[in-house]
Symmetry: D2
Subunit: 93 residues, 4 copies
């Protein structure tokens, strides 16, 4: 069981929508659509992905990281470190 397990249907639905956006982008390129319209669509897909990421991060910190700390697990240090590492990556892009 992971932090996101309760929300996995919602996450899957969002990822399928993003897959649709990426396929839509391929069609736009094949139809030689205007650059700015393609860029607007890429920007929208990126935002959707980012939103899935922050949602999962929240679940992860609220459940996995928190549980590890609460149980004084020796793994708590490692869990905090790997969460911070992924947060840095999201901040720096």
């Amino acid at each position: 069981m992971h932090g996101y397990s309760q929300n996995s249907d919602d996450i899957l639905a969002r990822l399928r929508r993003i897959e649709g956006q990426i396929r839509g982008l391929q069609r736009m390129i094949e139809e030689d659509r205007y650059c700015i319209d393609v860029l607007t669509q890429i920007s929208s897909a990126t935002k959707s992905l980012q939103s899935v990421a922050t949602g999962m991060l929240d679940d992860h910190v609220r459940h996995c990281v928190r549980d590890a700390i609460g149980q004084g697990e020796s793994a708590a240090d490692e869990k905090v470190d790997e969460a911070l590492e992924v947060i840095h990556r999201l901040i720096k892009r």
Copy 2:
């Protein structure tokens, strides 16, 4: 003809790879994989998308915007404005 027309095969190949990453993400959720591994993969897909975006932006500025300005087109103002608008969106995310 658009700024990216010469590179459309390369862009399509990259978008197909990103579509594969998104489908891989769906599988990871279905298999209940560890949050941090999913987040690492999302971060990688986001970076790939961002890289397609900056590549297209470069083509657009180097060709479409530049041509409009060089030909003194009355549309040059509008072209510069819409390029800056999309750049702001990419900067702010």
Copy 3:
């Protein structure tokens, strides 16, 4: 004369405000203020800086880059390239 010359008073005023925010941050650290309040203030100063950057970028593209292209200057290539390079840096942070 640069793209921002007309706005330099406004830019200076904004930079002085940002300098004030940075000094405010030093006081917060000296007074051992709560981390989250410090982080909120850093986030606000970063946003102010980013906003000066996008304003100057707009002036630069609208004037310097555009003029170079319009006059068919041999330097136009270089001007477009260096603008795109700085845009990439702003996007990637």
Copy 4:
């Protein structure tokens, strides 16, 4: 005592350096320096600020948030929520 208390000298030194960068930026504007050089300097100051922010965030999560959770404090929920909120702000810029 806060998460960053041990590092406050280092943080202060970095903030003073950033204050120097902001004053350097004001001089650049007064001397009408080239836009791209100013933007490069802004980009560098932003990166320095961002780096202070992620350092403080790490200290905060490793100490304040972790302590609250470990002690089963009723305030732990609130601490996790406010940390995630500031993380979202840093991610979205």
